[in-house]
Amino acid sequence: MDAGTLALLLSLLRLTTPLCIAAMGELVAERAGVLNIGIEGMMLVGALVAFAVGVSTGSGLLAVLGGISAGAALAALFAAFVLWRGADPIVCGAALNLFALGATGTFYRVLFPPELGHATAPQPGALVFVVLTGLLVLGVGLFLARTRLGLALRAVGERADAAHAQGVRVLRIRWAATLFGGACAGLAGATLVLWIADTFVEGMTSGRGFIALALVLFGGYRPLRIVAGALLFGAASALQFRLQARGLEIPYGLLLMTPYLLTLAVLALFASRVRPPADLARPFRPRV
């Protein structure tokens, strides 16, 4: 493999890995019937906490754990409003994104004032994250398709009432799925800081959470198809950077729109062919 191909492959992995991680978390949440559009914010908070922990301890492992717990903590806030109070998930997800922007902006400026100089996070290496992503996909796939709990989770997403009648603890499963989704988003954010870039930048997720949401739909709620979609997406973006380096005539400013336009195009082509979980985004109130 020559250096050019290797570079292209690496850039493909950098573009794909965070999307895959976040999408796996969202997949589990949505299969349980929880639509969480706040994963963008959870990624952002995960990125900042991973950065702060990484800078202060110098440990990549602690940084990753910090990112994961931060994402899960924000997901708990989301679940408290959506599952416990029965508030609208879309409104709350949008609010959580706003919350994450405000929180990361505030704490980044307080923790890392400009006079402190440029800080960099530890870099555990690409291999760690690629292997971790592979295990995550495998785990989620096997869990959903081959375990009793995975079956119960899918039942909760399709027919919460029926699952409840079967004795499945609907809200408990939804809580767990939401927390798992938040943890994955936090891990995806940590990946941004500990691999893709070595520092934190305000708003650095730049829509990756929303693209991951679209990928879940594009992949038809199946783990392997979501990975394939993410790879396709990453390949298109990597190719775009390549073309740009070759001095293509399209202005740079317009090329930056590619990921968003690509996502819109993919949604326009595939959204109507996919059947989401029947009870997605519907509140569940047990009869007592």
């Binding site: 029965g86 409104v91 609010a95 405000g102 307080v110 829509g207 968003y260």
Partner: protein, 331 residues
Amino acid sequence: MLAPLGAIGIALVALGLLLLLLGADPLRALGALMGGAFGDRNALENTLLRMCPLLLVGLGVALAFRCGVWNIGGEGQLYLGALAASALATRVLPDAPALLLLPLVVLGGALAGALWGGIAAALRVGRGVSEVLSTILLNFVALLLVAYAVHGPLQEASGAYPQSDLFPLAAQLGLLPGTGRVHSGLVLALLLPAALWFGLFRTAAGLRLRAVGLAPEAARYAGIRPERELVRVLLISGGLAGLAGALEVSGVTGRLFENLSSGYGFTAIAVALLARLHPLGVLPAAAFFAALSTGSGAMQRVAAVPAVTVQLLEALVILISASFALPRRTD
């Protein structure tokens, strides 16, 4: 009436606790915030200026949410309105007759915002794409379009900064008599809540819109076509945001640049929810968030609390309003 005040109260207490955590004196910070929002004439005019876009976009969000349409794209629609208004004022029509120029610029901005909302509507009705994702993605595209425009085709003639040329005088909104900076577009913005209240609660079109929001399938049995209402409300909602963008460039900044909006499109969601999606309630809610946004600058200077901290407050108000103060939807 009590629920929105409760939401504000809880959010303020949470903000106070956060300020304590950050090592700032909450009372001093809140005092600075109040002073920055209302302290003197200049502060008051700033608050009024910020209220204008929040009112317009907030009204649009309230209408869309009432219809069960999740338009999260106010920010992008506002930017597209500002972009179109600037293109018209500085490139396409700068030599148009003075009397026509301003109306054309403002109308062009509103139409561009409506177009941006219309794309999301077309994707939803034609291709089954949820408007939640499409409006969010279109926000990114709109911001990048503006960035491209001010670095490229619309950049000022001198090429010094990434911003458009200053609008010709005929394309700038006049000031309200007796004020130093407040543009006349605010009058229009202040009249709209009453007009939209009438439209929403006293006309057949408004009833159709609300019916679709409350129970789309029941509305369909009653002969209403939910798709048509969705398209209509996204056009209106986008148009209001586009109007806000056009007023911002022609009444406040006089030119287009990046970061023009300071998140009005997202704050507007908080405005609409705090108003319990009622057009008249948008008026005090917009005033509240405008004061918060103006005061946050002073809070940053005096109490060394980053201005973005108020976004936390906005998010909390949305969360609390959504779970306690919103009329429940019957599915």
